[in-house]
């Protein structure tokens, strides 16, 4: 029998979530002994494709071939059985168990059998030595290892399950340069032994250093697969971007910028936020752009005082302030829309009306907090009309609404609180295209009414379409401000990736 050319072949993969197309007719083929990089912007579909391969998601349509044989991967166990191992950014290790226990964790079944520790530790040692990390003691609890070593343990775990297809999702994000070198040596070793490696990274430099071929995605669609040796970084970037935006975003009447309302200087907080500065003016939409994990949400949380701000200065209308909580922010007219709508933005199991008035409950209360029910209804109806929530009954619970309408409820809540500075964190995430348009229109209207809007978005197209200026984040720092006139995907990527 002829040896199949590809270790993995995926053809015509479709996947959508609640009507949003994540993958449309996507393909991928990886040879054994090849390091194959996946590239694309945030939300281009790389992670979704990997989840389909590993069995975490099921494709709506499409075929997967492993070593030339068609397979049906229904769950992650099927994925494992077919030799697919994915190493995510957040490791699936049990921190207080030892290295050996973690490597062989799926051998511990529900049975009463004496564990041969000496043998287990010997096998773990052998596995570690095989990848050139014999210095790791199999008896050490995983939590005591550095992140890089934890990654090695993950890789060992995958290899002992005879993984022939290894997926690494942003493996270097948390590593030092020295650790990266060691990891790359290991990956090249694995390549020699015939493992097919799928490598996801935002760092172009790494991709050029290590990969054999690159597959590029854009907006959930397959663009091309190319040999790395034939490519230049610039030409790769232009493959990732380039679309017609103008038609998608609603037109805005030229707004006049007012004074600076919020000024952030040299803010640092934890590992994710290191030296961030920007200014927000009344009557403008300021975008916070950057790759996922660049520290945008964390910056906002530090400014609001939800997380601790270690260094830096925040001024509101020229006066230095230090916010202690979201309540503090709302009291000063700063409204915050969290990125995780279902867990942080709305109360799903409570009525729409109560959600709308949650941040402004004082307005509808009389003595001793007695609620003025009629006033509340009038107020809520008013806000409903303003943001256009589609429902015939404000008494219904929020979870009866579509994602877009839930998001509008959250926006209505912020507007009801009389905030004039609005911080919107991924306002269109998980929202269908129609509702996206309506949210954008609303944002335009608000800017026209002289609100100051800070919008975080991982989709560059949104930043370009909506924002007057954009601050670009890279690895916890604000690395550049781009004005509307210069705003193209090239410039944003230039700052976001540092090329």
């Amino acid at each position: 029998m002829e040896k199949p050319e590809y270790a993995v072949e995926m053809k015509g993969i479709y996947k959508s979530f609640e009507g949003v197309h994540a993958l449309t007719d996507v393909q991928l083929s990886v040879r054994p002994g090849e390091i194959h990089a996946l590239m694309g912007e945030n939300g281009a579909g790389k992670s979704t494709l990997i989840k389909v391969l590993s069995g975490a998601h099921q494709a709506d349509a499409g075929e997967i071939f492993i070593k030339g044989e068609k397979v049906d991967i229904k769950n992650t166990k099927d994925g494992n059985d077919n030799g697919v191992s994915v190493i995510y950014q957040e490791f699936a290790l049990v921190p207080h168990l030892s290295v050996a226990e973690n490597i062989f964790i799926d051998e511990f079944g529900f049975q009463i059998k004496r564990i041969n520790w000496i043998r287990l530790h010997r096998r773990a040692k052998e596995a570690l030595e095989a990848v050139g990390f014999g210095d790791i003691d199999p008896r050490t609890p995983v939590r005591e290892l550095s992140v890089a070593y934890q990654q090695v343990v993950e890789i060992c775990k995958a290899l002992t399950r005879n993984a022939e297809i290894l997926v690494l999702d942003e493996p270097t994000a948390v590593l030092t340069n020295k650790e990266v070198d060691k990891l790359f040596a290991l990956i090249l070793d694995l390549k020699k032994s015939g493992v097919a490696i799928i490598y996801i990274s935002h760092r172009l430099e790494e991709i050029f250093r290590i990969s054999d071929r690159i597959t590029v995605f854009k907006d959930g669609k397959y663009v091309d697969t190319v040999n790395t040796a034939d490519m230049q970084p610039k030409s790769l970037v232009s493959m990732m971007i380039g679309r017609d935006l103008a038609s998608f975003f609603p037109q805005r009447t030229e707004s006049k910028f007012g004074d600076v309302v919020l000024k952030v200087e040299n803010v640092s907080a934890g590992r994710m936020v290191q030296d961030v500065s920007f200014e927000l003016r009344a009557g403008e939409v300021l975008g916070l752009s950057g790759l996922v994990g660049a520290g945008r949400t964390e910056t906002i949380r530090a400014i609001l005082g939800v997380d601790k701000m270690e260094r830096g200065k925040v001024s509101l209308y020229g006066k230095e302030i230090r916010l202690k909580s979201a309540k503090d922010a709302f009291d000063r007219g700063i409204g915050f829309l969290p990125e995780d709508r279902k867990n942080q933005g709305v109360l799903l199991r409570m009525p729409i009306k109560y959600n709308i008035t949650l941040s402004s409950i004082k307005k509808i209360s009389a003595f001793f907090g007695w609620l003025l029910q009629k006033a509340e209804t009038v107020f809520a109806l008013d806000m409903q009309e303003k943001v256009g929530i589609k429902t015939d009954n404000l008494q219904h619970n929020v979870n009866s609404l579509s994602g877009g309408n839930q998001q509008k409820v959250a926006i209505a809540r912020i507007l009801a609180s009389d905030s004039t500075i609005l911080i919107l964190d991924e306002p269109t995430r998980g929202v269908d295209v129609g509702a996206k348009m309506e949210i954008f229109k609303l944002v335009n209207e608000l800017v026209y009414q002289n609100y100051a809007i800070l919008m975080i978005s991982s989709e560059m197209i949104e930043i370009i379409g909506m924002c007057d200026r954009a601050v670009v984040f890279r690895e916890g720092k604000s690395v550049g401000v781009v004005n509307k006139a210069d705003m193209t995907e090239e410039t944003l990527i230039h700052y976001a990736m540092g090329i």
Binding site: V306, S325, A326, K327, A329, F330, D331, F336, P338, N343, Q344, G345, V346, L347, L348, R349, M350, Y354, L358, S359, I361, K362, I364, S365, F368, G369, W370, L371, Q373, R413, S417
Partner: protein, 346 residues
């Protein structure tokens, strides 16, 4: 073909009936406590001639007053998504405080002594509840552990204050006879015991606060999703704290009723099942253990479901131990219905 056209209207009619019956079943699940209460009432009336007698009814009211107050406090705490295991201890300590103030401290001989003793009991309950609230809300400790510890602390406190003896009040003293008269007496017109009036008043007050004020709204919201409420600019900790503090104060009032009924106080009453009964009543009333769901009227129903079960079993002279098993079964049944109904609505 004609068969098909004939079948169509009847089919849609059947579908309509199905929809109505489905809605009915859903309502039945949601308000299963009311169905349970009516059922219990009918069964009790059939089983025993005595059940419907005014004396028995008055008796039920008298017995349930203290339990009801504790259940109201428990409802507040459970709405925030917490639990209070220390209620029995708080009730017992408060009842001991009343008697301790009156007799060993000698306040029974002062004209204002009774008033001070009673207030002291509520203050003590409030203080213990406040400790729970501070630890849970501001130090982010798990309610289960905090209130479990408070349960033991309260027990210890009760034995320390009483020196493990019963404080028996002398009913010849005017202040004591007023106190005991309050619990054992009834209004001359309807013969409803006075503690029942306290119970009714607090049901109304807590009901109004919970369903018609910002405070009540936010307590429920905090239980529904604390992170979201915090990010919406609400000081969620404050509301959590007050739920425990008010629960403590209500236990204080329950403690006064307990002391008044017997004219005595003992540390052994830390073992009365106020905790189990109140948690069961709140859950039978449809509240969610995760918080954010539950209301006063259904909690009242929950208490009376348990009360009537207990009453029937007493009337048919069922032994004390079998009674525990039957009560447990009823609680399991109610929670089972709740989990089925919440699955159905999802």
């Amino acid at each position: 073909m004609p068969m098909l056209t004939n079948a169509d209207p009847s089919g849609s009619m059947r579908e309509g009936n199905l929809e109505t019956s489905r809605r009915f079943v859903r309502l039945l699940f949601k308000y299963n406590a009311i169905v349970l209460l009516v059922l219990m009432f009918i069964v009790a009336t059939i089983i025993s001639d005595v059940f419907l007698s005014p004396e028995n009814m008055v008796n039920i009211l008298r017995q349930q007053s203290a339990f009801m107050l504790v259940a109201l406090g428990m409802l507040l705490v459970m709405l925030t998504g917490g639990i209070d295991l220390s209620v029995s201890s708080m009730v017992a300590v408060s009842s001991i405080i009343v008697c301790y103030c009156l007799k060993p401290m000698g306040l029974q001989n002062q004209s204002w002594g009774l008033l001070v003793s009673v207030i002291m009991a509520v203050v003590f309950g409030f203080a213990l509840g406040s400790v729970n609230g501070l630890l849970v809300a501001y130090l982010n400790m798990p309610a289960f552990i905090v209130t479990l510890a408070m349960m033991y602390a309260g027990k210890g406190l009760a034995f320390i204050i009483t020196d493990a003896n019963t404080i028996l009040l002398d009913q010849a003293v005017p202040a004591v006879s007023v106190l005991v008269g309050f619990a054992t007496g009834a209004d001359p017109l309807f013969h409803i015991p006075y503690p029942a009036y306290v119970m009714f008043a607090l049901i109304v007050v807590i009901g109004l606060v919970l369903h018609y004020t910002a405070f009540g709204r936010l307590i429920t919201a905090v239980g529904s999703n604390e992170t979201a409420v915090q990010l919406a600019g609400v000081n969620s900790k404050k509301y959590k704290y007050w739920a425990y503090a008010i629960c403590g104060a209500l236990c204080g009032v329950a403690g006064i009723i307990l002391a008044a009924r017997t004219g005595s106080a003992t540390a052994l009453s830390t073992s009365v099942s106020y905790d189990m009964t109140s948690i069961a009543a709140v859950v039978i009333g449809g509240a969610s253990l995760k918080g954010g769901e539950g209301n006063v009227p259904m909690t009242v129903v929950g208490i009376f479901v348990l009360a009537i079960i207990g009453n029937i079993m007493n009337l048919v002279s069922l032994g004390v131990y079998p009674q525990l098993v039957v009560k447990a079964l009823i609680i399991i049944l109610a929670v089972l219905l709740k989990s089925i109904s919440s699955k159905a609505t999802e």
